[in-house]
Amino acid sequence: MLVYRTPKTIKENSTFTFCPGCDHGIAVKLVANVLDELNLRDETIAVASSGCSVFLYNFLDVDCIEAPHGRACAVATGIKRAMRAQKKENFVFTYQGDGDFASIGLGESLHSALRGENITAICINNTNYGMTGGQLGPTTVLGQVTTTSPLGRNKEYHGFPIKTAEHIALSDGTSFSARVALYDIKNIMNAKKIIKKAFEYQKKGLGFAFVEILSSCPTNWKLTPVESHNKIKNELTKIYPLGIFKDVLNE
């Protein structure tokens, strides 16, 4: 009986280098599964970003370019436009963290959505800058302690976090915007369905498709993997509700 098969689009003999309990590994694998199912490997150009998400190109067996911090959607725009100019079949997606997509790169991200750029963006939201050791980011929730908000995020002092999927849903160029989580099997299976939809919308030429994935960061949250998932389930989903915020085919 076949119990487990690594997705074809994961490089042979590659080992994830993410921290134990980090949800990045699950997210990358879901992306690979969907690329397999939609048979997109041969036409895919992936855009990795800065932070923990940059390692995407070590694991995925697709053509991949690393974008400067925050610029993934601009780089993807260039690739998409160039492939169209050369009349070549293509599938282009970005894989970014919340700091990359919604802080330093918010301009590039939002304008790609407004242009209805026919790309898909995946944003891992773990409510902090993980790679640099857990600093306050655009999605750090009120009260959350980070290395640069040692007394907890305070709305008067630090301002408010961004609800990225809801903001992207407001853009007329967005075809699809959703938020998912990975804290249990049911949610993982749903996340895969949502990622698949966001990939299919690009293939249908519908415009900017976006998936925000609430992810754990046990190392910087200083919690166990199980505690981290409980935190997402019990606390974060109350602030960042799961669901579909825009779907042009279901309006």
Partner: protein
């Protein structure tokens, strides 16, 4: 040979880019280069090519980065303070070895400065405004015809060496109209299919990245980049000389300043002085060897720039004490008129006694 037409420098560059197959352009408006984007917007949309009115120069240059990774011929253009915003991506493009052509039609700085022509971005282009060890090939036209010729050359060199190329001109030339003709692009097509990203069909997947956690690999990568730069230095340095054969006074200048410098040479030749012009067409690689040779026969070098003395450093490094060096500069053009140049040159000649010993 085609017929002569009257064209602005900016439009000439845009037309030349299309002539040599540029299929993507990304830009954001800024004077004095906006006509490039305006011109290309209609032409590229009509032909189904890639054109984006980007949200910022940061967006534009990163779109160029992505587009060039597919092997498309890509151009972006901007000016001075906005080219500053592009430095991050240029550093990445050098490490990624991506062939982007960037046009910088210089205006006055620092900061926002103003839309007057200037040559204040020599350092930014030649020594790099981004982080890390890298080099960018910098071509500098001095008339509208050369805007065309050097645009052809820029696309060729960018792909030949897999490196960004900057076309650096001052606002005066971007806005100046002259009669030009479009020769056929004589440069060979470079096959890029062994490195481009277009989907890994029937081949192993490829990755283009600058991040490298292994210090050993990163050192080797930079070493390889610099081996390439040595070849470029050896092969691609280009310059113009005017009346240098017997000259004991050499004027150095680039882009439109060199045209005033030519007039200055003519003026002093009539007075019996042996003055000649040395004009680098490639600012990087700087034609160091040839200037060094010329300086051995010269008593005086006068460097003239529309800035406070930026190419001057490369002139000094080439001359290495072979002759005296004087500088005439003005950072904001108001183009230096010939009268002003003559009076400042006369002052130098009096002070250095060069005219007395050799006239």
């Amino acid at each position: 040979m085609s017929e002569k037409t009257l064209l602005k420098g900016n439009i000439a560059i845009a037309q030349a880019a299309l002539k040599c197959g540029c299929s993507c352009y990304f830009g954001y408006p800024i004077t004095p280069q906006t006509e490039i984007g305006e011109y290309l917007s209609l032409k590229m949309q009509e032909s189904g090519l890639g054109y984006v009115c980007a949200e910022s120069e940061i967006g534009a240059i990163n779109m160029a980065l992505g587009a060039s990774s597919t092997g498309a011929k890509v151009m972006a253009s901007s000016s001075s303070c906005a080219v500053s915003l592009m430095q991050e991506a240029l550093s990445y493009a050098c490490s990624d070895e991506l062939p982007i052509v960037l046009v910088n039609v210089m205006r006055a700085g620092p900061g926002q400065g103003y839309i007057y022509p200037s040559q204040g971005d020599y350092n930014q282009s030649v020594t790099g405004g981004g982080n890390g060890d890298y080099r960018i090939i910098v071509l500098s036209p001095s008339n509208v015809q050369e805007c065309i010729d050097l645009t052809y050359r820029a696309f060729y060199l960018a792909r030949k060496y897999r490196n960004p190329v900057i076309i650096l001109l001052d606002g005066l030339l971007g806005q100046m109209s002259e009669a030009v003709e479009f020769d056929d692009n004589k440069y060979d097509e470079i096959n890029c299919s062994n490195w481009t990203l277009e989907g890994a069909k029937n081949r192993p997947s490829r990755k283009i990245h600058s991040l490298e956690p292994s210090s050993n690999k990163l050192n080797n990568h930079i070493k390889k980049m610099f081996e390439k730069y040595s070849i470029i230095k050896e092969k691609e340095a280009d310059w113009e000389e005017y009346l240098t054969d017997d000259a004991n006074i050499i004027v150095t200048a680039f882009s439109t300043m060199s045209r005033q410098a030519k007039a200055l040479c003519n003026y002093y030749r009539r007075k019996g002085l042996k003055m000649g012009l040395f004009r680098p067409k490639t600012l990087w690689p700087f034609p160091q060897k040839r200037l060094a040779e010329l300086s051995k026969k010269a008593d005086l070098i006068i460097d003239i720039e529309m800035n406070m003395g930026q190419m001057l450093k490369d002139v000094e490094l080439s001359v290495l004490g072979n002759s005296k060096i004087e500088f005439i500069g003005k950072p904001v053009g108001d183009f230096m008129k010939i009268d002003e140049l003559v009076s400042r040159t006369d002052e130098i000649l009096r002070r250095t006694d060069v005219s007395l010993s050799h006239s």
